[in-house]
Structures are given as structure tokens and as C-alpha cells.
Symmetry: C2
Subunit: 663 residues, 2 copies
């Protein structure tokens, strides 16, 4: 191995336990533009000589951007930090070396104290400074040379006093001398640790998912891109950043699914948008009834420029039997020995309207390149946020190649992984380059489950690369809690998603209109799911949660504590509350200037009361100090004093508090 | 990086979180000959295809020794194991691949259950088996081909029954087919994980340290190797495996230290054995009064062959001012600007009798080679166990190079690191190749300290490479607990060292004769330390602890539970006992066939009583089952029933129980 010791190595310093790192630097840690990265490492050497170290941050081309020194934490541990620039891939390495001059200084001081200091000590210190000056840039070299000359001059003093003077001169020179070690003696971590810097939207975003075809302004008509342009104020007013569309490509006719996932569509039924591809085109085409590619481009531009909204596309790498690829590239699909194409199947479930690509095929190189061209095509139309459908059914190596490749030119791209699968696979996808990830949040509804899951995703080691995006519902998942809990259940899930996670999303208007009817008892599918039919929504419904959503997104935008999942010194913290149906947590900024307390009554039927215990010291509040908490949902203000406080939540009024601490 | 994804990679399997590994495989895990290594890894792929994996164990030359398959633990986790051969360096890698035939089989079964199986399914299975046969060795290929033929034959059955028959044939073939994947699709961990296999003595050893010069049979004379040969029965009868000598080289006269570390020796005083080197020679010579090199070789041979004792040498890489190196190799020492040599110094402490080597010197390559030749010289005399003095004051890179190099020819060598320094440095020395390590045990005397320290060294992650060796005393350390606690304190520390750690040692006869007087109050140095004078010991002292030591070493040899620090499924476990002065722990073998319970009264003055809670299920004992515990120190037997049991220890009788569970 390259980092093993060779005979006569002059590198006496070793560097260990560098953090943060993912799998020892195999994958990047993820941050967003402008964030501060705090780095720690063990730096040690033989003997008693002090060591020093620095971080060396480089950009993609290897250019050194900054090289801040590390500070001593004790017990061989060091810490330093750097601030990140814009999106892109960076690397940091750690360097360590013996700080000979500080070592001499410490020894000299001990010898003065022991009464054994002599002029030879001064000579040694002088020599070290002179050598150091020889390695320093001109301006620094001058200062070091002057210090070395001064060290030997008695300055009119003699004996102990002249030594004290030298000690003072040495102390002034030491921080300067520390930074110019003999390059041959510097130890550098053999591997540099990658850092992927994303757009801030990767850290803090609110997603709104819709099926564009259901948003026509007149009933009985297929929605169009122009309809959506007119609907943008609705979405923007609620405070969403990302408007995410179900696939908008031509839909195949062969084996098209009907209402409620019926095996056969009736004439006129539109089919599932995930049955991608027909005579009109495939993944690069738009469904003719939605409009043209130019209409779409206009929508993307208006959304961004007039409303600050990014349009996100759903990329589902699969084909309907009518997709042009099926004829043009039969080599990309698996064929059964009888010559028929293999449709997607998870027995007893069959998806005869979907042909998966065969990523094991011999022609996979051309397949991968074509898949890349799909993303490039949409990037060319102005899209920079993608939600990827079932990425866990395509090779991890494919995603690692594809996403790295795309991000070279466009480091501001955002990819949301829709992988509802085993934890190791979900995490691997995040490691290989997905920016955000769907999670198990939808199925975590009890207090115990929520506490355990929030600890894991917000405070566990995987947060270095796995960014959770919490969804209370999706077109595929209507959880039993929502089916049975009524309006309070929807509010509970909304508050949890939007305050616990900095990234969250809803599938609307099913969410704000509190649609709760399942296809059948025990199913998580919607009754008359929008996946198989075109809807008309009554957005003016007075019972709509839209005003509450608007309020919550405003609270998110006004409170920095809710804008990141974690930070060194801040982040999410669970607090004990003595009722198994009440959940209580806080989020705070690293400097505790913004502290949000969230109390949620998980029981959608009954009022629950409890006493919460707050770690006031972590909030910078004295144990007997009075402070106020303001409910940002209702405007109520309470005066609290001490760690233990009373909570009462009536779900039929509001099942949650979002409290800001005021001092 | 080499393990990043290339376009069109056919390796769909990824391997993560491999254990055991030290720093991701940078350093070897440590085991001893004949041990079983249990390996775990996450192995996963996209989609629903099952994956399979194996461990590939290779020897130093890259020859594959064994390639056992891994078994599924669930949630993408796999486990396997292999048994190690003799001492040496091995590597293990993990391989993973898609198990296509098992995937087909699972799909086929689901289709049968769903009623959609057809003959095309059988064709697909047949094709997979035939392809697999093409990759298998002849004998296996024949079996796979027969199975593939059988799969297609109805065997007189039809419809569902013929499918059931095919399913049965498939299940028989699956384990065979699993092992012959397409080599291009196998993923292998990019790095193989090193395993250092030591001699079993590295795992289980009892050390006895002595100053040979004090062991003359007649008083007033310098001890000789021949005296030691006659003393071997004394050491062997006590049950020690390793007899470790303070340095036995010629001792310098310049600045020789006198009695009680006096700055100047009086005429006739022998000096410290660590003041190595004089006219008669240096690190490769023996002190003339001890005898000749041939005498020493005879002693090593007799100790090994007649008493099963290894002679361990103390290697202190430093020189007295009179060492031949000082004249012959001035380039290896640091010189002050006034021309004087830099002696060892840790102000206000000065060691004018010791010149350290300058490992920073320009001539370090020749220095390192000469240091290696010192070890080689003693290896040539038959020594294979070395205690290394202050290794933390020499570069880690030096030790990594030296120890790796020496072990290539002699993998049975054992090196004990005497590094009483910061944890990171102690650990780094263990990582770079030291076989055993001194610890903080000597300074851990309270219940809280002991419980915390035992958890750390016996059950923490560092146990993969850091083998603790517990010493109740050394010539440099007479802890206050021994100074003040009398005979009970010595017994407490002996029992703790010998039962908690599989490797332990004492400095005798100071230990068995319970020498407890410090040089001055507050000092950990012995009064009239043997380091500076020649002693006469009364080994016949009726108060000697030698009989108890004999008994404890016999208990260690008779109870496998005490012969290793840890094992998967066994090892040390702390048990709650309701008295802060009582400590209770167990050690057991992995199969729980040998269970030792140790109770220690840490109060050397008063009887202490308490109730211990035992995890009977971990011992394979029912909650209401009666069992016996036999005190191996006294022969007493108690009948116990249930988890909660009474302990009473009178320190003036015996401050400890060593109980063996009998069923």
C-alpha cells in the first residue's frame, strides 16, 4: 500500500480518524454553498515534540483554495474549519508536521524554570528560526530573520532577564514559524476527502407534486402547460419552492391501465403517466395534450423568474410497449426464450404496461449514454431538479457514473431519489450522488417510531450524505393514519414533515383537500387514483388546508432553525414529555439565536396534556430565567420559567404548537 | 479512484461496511494461530435479484487458501468465517455477485403460486443452468447440465405438478449454481483486509520480569546466566510463560546513576541497566559479569526446552555516553551548537546518562538498519519475545518498517510495547505492529475506573488490534494502592490482572515479596530501587505470594475462559453488584462450556458484602435452575439458584473469589 512506511521516512507525524468522511473518503460528504465545514483529526508524533496541522482545500482542478491551520483540542485531537464556495466538488486533505520551534520554546521555558537555560539554548532557537526563514516567503522570512537575530541579543539585559526576553520574542515568532515546516517532513493524508457542495435548495426546499393534466381551468379538458402557468400563483402563494410534475410524456396504449388500476383501460381513459412512450415519442417528448416543448420551456422560465419556483421532472427509466425505444433498440430489453419482451413483474403483481430496461444487456454502454441524453435534454429545456422514480432498480454504478458526469457541467442540479427499499440500498443511492432521498417518514407515525427515526436521520452518521425529504403522502401512499385520522391527522403530518425536516413535500391537491379514501380497506392506494384518471379539483374548498400550508411555509422561511436538518452545535433535539401521544422536539441554529419548539399531539381524536422537560442550558436560558414562547400558528404568547412546562393540545382546534423562544 | 464506476460496468453488486477491519484495512486485525475469524459485510444490488458472496483468504504470496461462502443475515447483511493457520500475514477480500438462478427460482415459485408459470419459465431456468455449467469445473458442470436437462422434462407429470417437480430440481441445483457466477460480474472489495496471525503466546501469557544481576546464589556477588538457569524452576513452578530480563548489556560509567537515582554513583555502584553501552560493547553485547553470549544462548535453550519458558529481552534504543555507537556513529546523535551531545531531558528531569538516537538525523537510513540488526542479533541467539522500552519516543514509521520486516522471516516474534503515553500514540504503536501493549491498568484502581477501562480494552473496537498486557507493578511503578493497601492490595491487583486480561505480568520478586516502600511520599518509584543497585532476595520468605501466584497461574491454564481477552459470543462481561467497593465480572468461552466468575473486594481493609445480578441466560442457566459455583482459590463450593447471589469478602482472609460455574 502506498501509505506504508518506507525505510528512513522523515515523516514522523501520523494522521488518523479524520472526520467528516463517508466510508473513509470513498464518497463525498454533502454540504451546500456557503456552509462552514468543521474538520477534526488525530495528529500525533513520537516523543514530546508538538505537532501542527492544516486543512488543504482544493477545487475540482486541484487548485488550493484555502489552507487554514488546525487548533489543538487536546489528547492529539485537532480541529479546523473552512467555508465553502459555490456548488461543485471539492477535496480536503490534512497535513501535519512537527512544530520544531514551539518544541524548542517549551523546552527552553522548562529549562529557565529549572535554572538550567544557557546561551546554547538561544543558539538552537536561532538556528531553527533561520532555517524556517529560508523556507518562508520573503515578507515572512524577513520577520523570522529579525526574530532570530533578536533572540541572540541580550537587549541590555543579562542572565535570567535576557532569557525571559528571548522567551517573549520566541512566543511572538512561534505562530509564524509554525507555518513553514520543511516540506519533506510534512505528512499528508494519502487520500483527499471529497466534499460535494450543492445549491442551497438541496438543503431547504418545499415540494409540491401535481399531475398537470388535472389542472385544466375548464372541466372535462386535459390540463395544459398554459393552465399550469395560470396556476403558479396558487402554488407560489402557499410558499413552495419546487413544483414537481408526474411524467409528462406521451402515454402508451398497449395494456394501458384503467380507473383504479383496472387491467384494461376503457376507451378514452388517459392511462398512467408512468406508462411512458407512444407513437408521439418517448422520454424526450411531451404529451401532445399538455402542449409543446416550447410551452414547457416557457412555463419553466416563468415559474423561475416570476415566482421563484423550480419545475422538477419525474424521470422514470422504463417504457410502455409503444415506446419508440422498443422498436429502435430491442437490444436494451430482456426477451424471454419465446421471443416476447419481459414486462415488469413482482408476482403476483404484473405491470404489462411497463417494460424495464435490461441494465445487464450487452449493449448497456449505448443504453447508459441514451439515458444520460434524457437528462441532458431536459436540462437543455431549463430543468435543474429531478425526481427519479425507483432508482434502486437500476445499477448503483449507473447512477454513480451518470450523476457525477452530469454534475461536472451543472453542479447546481438536484436529484431526489424515490427508493422505498432496504436501508443499505437507500443509503448507497445517496452515497453515489442523489442529493435528497425519500424516507420511511410516511410509515413512522407512533411516538416511539418517530423519535427513533428522527434520531437516526437527523443525528446519525448517515446525515453526512443522506438528506431526507419527508412526504406525508404521495400518489402511491395514503397511509392509514391519514385514512382514519381526519383533518387533525393531516395537520399532524404536515407539521411534522415541515418542521422536523428542512426538505419536505406534499402530493396535492390530494393533501390540502384531505383526500382520505383508500382503493380498498388495507390498501395505501387512493380511491380513484389520479394515476389513472384526469381530475378536477375544487381548490376553493373552504376546508382546504392551503391557508395552513401557506402559514407553515412562511414560518419555515422566517426561521433559520427550520432551514437545515442539522448543524454543528444546532439541529434537532428530542425532549422528554410524559405522555406517549405527545411528541416534542426543538430545532435551533448553531448560535441558538433562533430556537423553535414543536409540540405535536399524535392522537387525532382526543386532547392530550403533558409536561415537557427542556434543556435550558442548551438554549442559553438560565434555570430560573423567565422566557416567552410565541406560538407561530396562533400568535399566542406564554411566559415560561424553568425547564418543566405544561402542554395541552386539542386536535380539533390545532394538534400542534410551533413555538419560537423569545428573550 | 480505482473503485469508482466506469460506464457500462457489469458489476451490479456493491460491498460495504466490511468487518473486522482496522482503519478500513490500512492496518491488520490481530488474531492467533487456529482462531476462527467471523466476517460480516453488506452486499447489495439494484432490484430484487438475490446476491451471494464469499470470503477469499490469501496467504502472503497471494495464494488462495480458502473461499467460504457467506450466509444471509437479512437486510443486506452477510456473515461468514474462516479458520486461521499458523503465524503470518494473511489477507481477506469479499466477493459478491448476482445469484441469477436463485433469482429465477424465487420468481418461478411466485408465478406458480400466482398461477402464471409456463414452459417459458422452465426454458429460462434451463438456460441459466447451462450457462452456469459452462463456467463450472467438469464434475460440477456435469451435475448442473443434468439438472438443466431434468428441469425441462415433465417426468411423466403435467401442468402444476410438473412445475412443482421443476421447483424441487431447481432447489437442489441452486446452491451449486450459486458458486459459479460470470467472473466479469463479480465485485471484489478494492482492498483486501490484512490479518496478522501471531503465535498463541501472544494471546495468552504470564510474564515475570527480573533483573538477572540480583539473582546470584551467594550474597554479595553479581548474578549470572548460570544462576538464572538454576532459578528457572522457581519461575516455572509459579507458572510463568515468559521470563523477561531488564537490559543485560554493559553499563556506561559516565554520569552513572547511584542508589535511589542519585545523580552520581558511588564507586562500586552498578548503575542502571538502561544506561546501555561501555567499552565492552553495546546493544549486542552482554554485561561481562552476567556471563558470555554462549551462556545466554544456553539459558534461552534450557528455559524453552526444559521449562517451556521464553526469555524476553528488553530493547531500549538509547545509549550511555560510553556506548561504542557514540564514537563510531556521531551522525546518529543530536549535537548542540556548542558541540556537546544532547542527553535525554524532560525538564526539570535530566538523564545525563542517556543519549537518545536522533531519528530526525540525515543518516537515519543507516541508523534504522543498525537498529534492525540489534533485533536480528538477539533473534539469532534464540530470543523471540521482546519488550520494547519507550517505543513512543521513536517514529511510528520506524516501527512499522522494522516490525513488518522482522516478521516476514519470523512471524512468531512477539513485541510488547512499553508506551505509557497518550491513548492515540499507544494505539498507533499497536496498529503498526506491536503484539501486546502495556496499559493504564496500573493506575485504574477504583471500581468505576476499572469497569470503564475493562469495557474499553476488552469490548471496545480497538481490541481488533490492541492486546492489553496488565501489570500490577513494574520497576518504575509502585502504585499508591500497593504502597498503602498491604498484602490484600497485592492480591487484589494480582487477581484482577491475571483473570481480567489473558496477558499479564509482574515485576518480581518485588511483587511476591510485597515490597511497598516508595522512594519518597507521593512517588511511584521504589525505595532503593533495583534499577540502581544489586539486590539479594529472600525467596523463601513465608509471607511470599509465590504459592498464590502458582495457584492463579494454574487456574489460568486450566480454564480456557481466562485464555483470551474476547471472542465472538464469549469474553469479559461486567455484572452489577450493589457495593461500590466490590467488582464483579465473568469470563466465558464462546460456547459457554467454561464460565469463570470473579468477585473482588477493592477495599483492602474491611469486609464488604453485596448482591450480584447475573445474566443467567447468557450462561445457559435457567432463571430458577440450581447451579454450583466452586471457588478455585479455596475449594469451597456454593449452591446458587437464580440471578441474585450474595458475596462477602474479608480482605484479610482473601479479597477475591475466582468461581467456576458447575452444572
Amino acid at each position: 500500500m502506498s501509505d506504508r512506511s518506507e525505510i528512513g521516512s522523515g515523516q514522523r507525524v501520523v494522521i488518523e480518524n479524520v472526520s467528516p468522511a463517508v466510508d473513509g473518503g470513498r464518497f463525498p460528504i454533502k454540504r451546500t454553498a456557503g456552509e462552514v465545514v468543521v474538520v477534526e483529526a488525530d495528529i500525533l508524533a513520537d516523543g514530546h515534540d508538538p505537532v501542527a496541522g492544516r486543512i488543504v482545500l482544493t477545487d475540482e482542478k486541484g487548485k488550493v483554495l484555502t489552507a487554514p491551520c488546525l487548533e489543538v483540542l487536546g489528547n492529539d485531537r485537532f480541529r479546523g474549519e473552512f467555508t465553502l464556495g459555490g456548488p461543485g466538488r471539492y477535496h480536503y486533505a490534512i497535513e501535519g508536521w512537527i512544530d520544531h520551534f514551539s518544541g524548542w520554546l517549551a523546552q527552553f521555558q522548562k529549562r529557565i524554570e529549572g535554572g538550567s537555560a544557557d546561551n546554547v539554548d538561544l543558539e538552537i532557537g536561532t538556528l531553527i528560526l533561520r532555517e524556517t526563514a529560508g523556507r518562508a516567503p520573503k515578507r515572512i522570512a524577513g520577520r523570522l530573520t529579525r526574530a532570530s537575530d533578536e533572540l541572540m541579543r541580550p537587549g541590555g539585559l543579562s542572565g535570567a532577564k535576557s532569557f525571559q526576553r528571548a522567551l517573549r520574542i520566541g512566543r511572538l515568532a512561534a505562530p509564524l514559524a509554525r507555518e513553514y515546516p520543511d516540506p519533506d517532513t510534512i505528512t499528508r493524508t494519502p487520500k483527499a476527502f471529497p466534499v460535494e457542495v450543492n445549491d442551497p435548495l438541496a438543503r431547504f426546499s418545499a415540494w409540491y407534486e401535481m399531475f398537470p393534466r388535472s389542472w385544466a381551468f375548464e372541466s372535462g379538458r386535459h390540463g395544459t402547460f398554459d393552465d399550469i402557468i395560470l396556476r403558479l400563483p396558487y402554488v407560489a402563494n402557499m410558499g413552495f419552492d419546487i413544483l414537481y410534475f408526474a411524467p409528462l410524456h406521451p402515454i402508451g396504449a398497449t395494456h394501458r391501465k384503467g380507473r383504479n388500476n383496472a387491467l384494461k383501460a376503457e376507451p378514452g381513459e388517459p392511462g398512467s403517466p408512468w406508462g411512458i412512450g407512444a407513437g408521439e415519442g418517448g422520454h424526450k417528448a411531451v404529451h401532445p395534450e399538455l402542449g409543446t416543448l416550447d410551452d414547457f420551456k416557457r412555463l419553466v422560465k416563468i415559474a423561475r423568474e416570476s415566482y421563484g419556483i423550480e419545475i422538477a421532472l419525474d424521470i422514470a427509466l422504463q417504457c410502455s410497449p409503444d415506446h419508440p425505444y422498443v422498436v429502435e433498440h430491442p437490444e436494451w430489453f430482456r426477451r424471454r426464450p419465446d421471443g416476447t419482451l419481459q414486462y415488469a413483474e413482482n408476482p403476483p403483481k404484473k405491470y404489462q404496461d411497463i417494460y424495464p430496461f435490461d441494465f445487464d444487456c450487452q449493449a448497456r454502454q449505448s443504453l447508459w449514454l441514451e439515458m444520460r441524453s434524457i437528462f441532458e435534454h431536459w436540462i437543455d429545456q431549463g430543468v435543474r431538479v429531478f425526481r427519479v422514480d425507483n432508482p434502486h432498480t437500476k445499477p448503483f454504478a449507473f447512477w454513480e457514473w451518470l450523476l457525477s458526469d452530469l454534475k461536472v457541467a451543472r453542479p447546481d442540479l438536484i436529484f431526489l431519489s424515490e427508493a422505498f427499499t432496504r436501508p443499505a440500498a437507500m443509503r448507497r443511492l445517496a452515497k453515489v450522488g442523489f442529493t435528497q432521498s425519500y424516507t420511511y417518514f410516511t410509515w413512522r407515525n407512533d411516538k416511539w417510531e418517530l423519535e427513533s427515526y428522527l434520531s437516526e436521520v437527523m443525528n446519525g452518521p448517515h446525515r453526512e450524505y443522506f438528506r431526507p425529504n419527508f412526504w406525508p403522502n404521495t400518489p402511491d401512499i395514503l397511509h392509514e393514519y391519514l385514512q382514519t385520522g381526519g383533518r387533525p391527522a393531516f395537520i399532524v403530518r404536515l407539521v411534522l414533515a415541515a418542521t422536523a425536516a428542512a426538505n419536505y413535500g406534499i402530493y396535492g391537491p390530494a393533501f390540502e383537500l384531505t383526500l382520505a379514501k383508500p382503493r380498498e380497506p388495507g390498501s395505501e392506494e387512493y380511491w380513484e387514483s389520479e394515476k389513472y384518471e384526469i381530475k378536477q379539483w375544487n381548490l376553493e374548498d373552504p376546508e382546504s388546508l392551503a391557508p395552513l400550508i401557506t402559514q407553515i411555509n412562511r414560518i419555515r422561511r422566517e426561521n433559520p432553525a427550520l432551514q437545515s436538518d442539522w448543524s454543528a452545535g444546532g439541529g434537532l433535539m428530542l425532549h422528554p414529555i410524559d405522555n406517549p401521544l405527545l411528541l416534542f422536539y426543538s430545532k435551533r441554529t448553531a448560535d441558538a439565536s433562533n430556537i423553535i419548539l414543536v409540540a405535536v399531539n399524535l392522537d387525532p381524536y382526543n386532547t392530550q396534556i403533558g409536561w415537557v422537560d427542556l434543556p435550558l442550558d442548551r438554549f442559553g436560558i438560565g434555570w430560573d430565567e423567565a422566557f416567552e414562547v410565541e406560538d407561530l400558528l396562533t400568535g399566542s404568547v406564554w411566559s415560561w420559567r424553568g425547564a418543566r412546562n405544561y402542554i395541552e393540545l386539542n386536535p380539533h382546534h390545532l394538534p400542534a404548537h410551533i413555538l419560537r423562544v423569545r428573550r
